[in-house]
Amino acid sequence: MVDLLTIIISKYNYWGYIVLMMIGLYAMIVKKNLVKKIIGMSIFQTAIIFFYVSIGMKKNATIPIISHGHDGGEHAVHAVDFINPLPHVLMLTAIVVSVATLGVALALAIKVYQQYNSLEEDEIDSQIKVK
């Protein structure tokens, strides 16, 4: 029982990931304002990036930079001493994709505002039904 509790508490990064992901999902589903929905989408994306970076984390390891790389790499590199850099490199792409998604979503929100003069979803819905 104590072992199980220790395991659950020591994985607090994953609990934070779950909380952030649920905040983003709640904002995307429940909030009526379009900009709030877009903020929720961004929080959701950063939560997933956070999960992937947490996977690559390692205890008693340093950042993945070889400090003696200038001598042609004659020394052997122990992978145990370095944090796994593969999830980081994958998530760099995800960050760039997320800012592109954000730009497109905000441009669409501005077009919706010019058309219906409102950012609230229920007001836009009622205007669509009148037409």
Partner: protein
């Protein structure tokens, strides 16, 4: 990784996220989202992902906040929830 610092920054991130979606002003939401992104970049620097941290500080906290603020100026600050 220093786990005390990691836990404190993670709490800041969660509170900034909750604040960004509950505040009843879109400009305030944009600023709180910028704070959220900055805290996230600090978290990644602590977790050893320095390249991700650089990119998040420039793209997430910089460009995203500019996008949100300009979008709020082109539309309206009013929000119901």
């Amino acid at each position: 990784m220093i786990w005390q610092l990691d836990l404190i920054i993670l709490t800041f991130v969660i509170f900034c996220g909750i604040g960004a979606i509950t505040i009843k002003d879109l400009l305030g939401a944009a600023i709180l989202f910028g704070a959220y992104s900055f805290m996230m970049s600090l978290l990644w620097a602590i977790m050893g992902a320095v390249d991700v941290s650089f990119t998040e500080a420039s793209v997430g906290a910089g460009v995203s906040t500019v996008f949100f603020v300009s979008a709020v100026f082109r539309t309206t600050r009013r929000t119901k929830d």
